[in-house]
Amino acid sequence: MNMPLRADLADVREVPVAKADDLDRAMVRLEAVSKTFAARRGGGAVTALDHIDLAVAPGSVLGVIGRSGAGKSTLIRLVNGLERPSAGRIWVDGTDIAALGERELRQVRRSIGMIFQHFNLLSSRTAYGNIALPLEIAGVGRAEIKARVEPLLELVGLADKRDRYPAELSGGQKQRVGIARALATRPKVLLSDEATSALDPETTQSILDLLGTINRELGLTILLITHEMSVIRRIAKEVAVIDGGRIVERGDVYDIFTRPGHATTQSFLGGASGRAVPAGLAARLGPDRAAGSEAVVRVVFRGTLAAGAVVSSLSRELHADVKILSGAIDEVAGRPFGTLLIGLPSSDRHLAPALAYFAERGLDTEVLGYVA
């Protein structure tokens, strides 16, 4: 996979590109996939996806994050063949999706579950009836349908809502029905297109927990799409950031959280754990390094959290006042990390040695600006 690096990506970390045999074993794999929608009246052609390479290992959860219009839905719809790629190849569990005819594709879709932002449940069917639908479509007999649907209702915690219609369920309950429905045909892959975007934070959490459980206990491979970083950190191990139809950054969720390379990733992390600059400070922050000004530096601690000690010893070493402006400690993918905003004199005598001091200790720094 040789993705052409753009100039602004020059500093993108080495992508954990899967090795050849990893790729062969990948549950979902996209190779140089592009998708262009033909021009409509009054508009030009839209390139929704541009040379996408992607691999999802069996049993893993890959999160794809991007803004509205970045091409996320198109990407996920390519995986189950709802859209055909303009170029490139797509494999699901070893099957070349793009090479299949519509009839064979229908067969393959039965081994790929999908959940949606607006649930897409039939209002005319009860919870039970909705979960039964994919089985009816697959031609499964009545007794077998019952034998499969009842445990699924149990699994998603809706056994008591069996005969309720969607109108009688809450958003979270509807999505649980959606998840049970997606699991009914015992798929190997679950595609999730903004499945929590219409839910409140608490319900989002419970739905993500359920997806996590399913991933662990059923070994289901999940490709999840979202525009919220908080969703990614709660469920995914790996993340790909998509912008303007291209993957601009990807890697381990912890790495991306603690060392975002691309501007888009950074903007997604915007307010996340200690990254936000306090409003009062932000208003005074400028790009000019005037004499006597103070530099504002963001320091990210990965793993080790001896932040206080590091700052006080720096203070001693520089013979200067190093102020802690704000800070936060957080955990991503089970590993701790801390973010500290510090202020120190911006003169060459202080700033350069301070940055070197952090670099020696393997800490990432970023000079955010200067205050007079």
């Binding site: 229908r106 949606f116 897409n120 449940l121 039939l122 639908l133 994919p134 479509i137 219609y165």
Partner: protein
Amino acid sequence: MSPEIVQLIAEATLDTLWMVAVATAIATLLGVPLGVFLATSGRGELFALPAVNRIVGLVVNATRSTPFIILVVAIIPFTRLIAGTSIGTKAAIVPLTIAAIPFIARLVETAVREVDQGLVEAARAMGASPLQIVRKVLLPEAVPAIALSLTLAVVSMIGYSAMVGAVGGGGLGDLGIRYGYQRFMPDVMAAVVIVLIVLVQGVQTIGDTLARRLNKRLRHN
């Protein structure tokens, strides 16, 4: 009003109900599939057949824009062919049905188009064939709207059936013309109008109730 007249009104009411029932049944049988076809055969749709869609659409529009009374006269040869006669209750069923088919088809088309596209998307993602999507998603989801459409069709046909009375079609309209108008019996005319009003009200109430029962989007509890 004499017992004979009351008897006549009762018979005419039954005739009207019979005409409307038979015409509705046949028109539903043909109009619903036609409506589903219209709703699913456009460009980029489930059974994309844009050319056929356009032609069928034209025929439907042409039939719908022909005033009913002209349609009745224009298709007399066809009516004779089907019913063996061009006057009476049996003959009246033919133009009624012909007029009702495109009417029902357009209403069903609208009902099917109103179904959330997300459901079609979900069904496709499950591996449903276009026919399965129609049978398991589009029709069941459109049922409440179709029930209302058929109610509207029945109400319109009660009106139309009174119109065929003008050309000797039998039923309440026929009675109203012959007795109320030609023999100048205003009480018969009034009775006919009242029976028609009651019929329409009854049909509308039944249709509304049925549609509400069928609509699972409402919370019932």
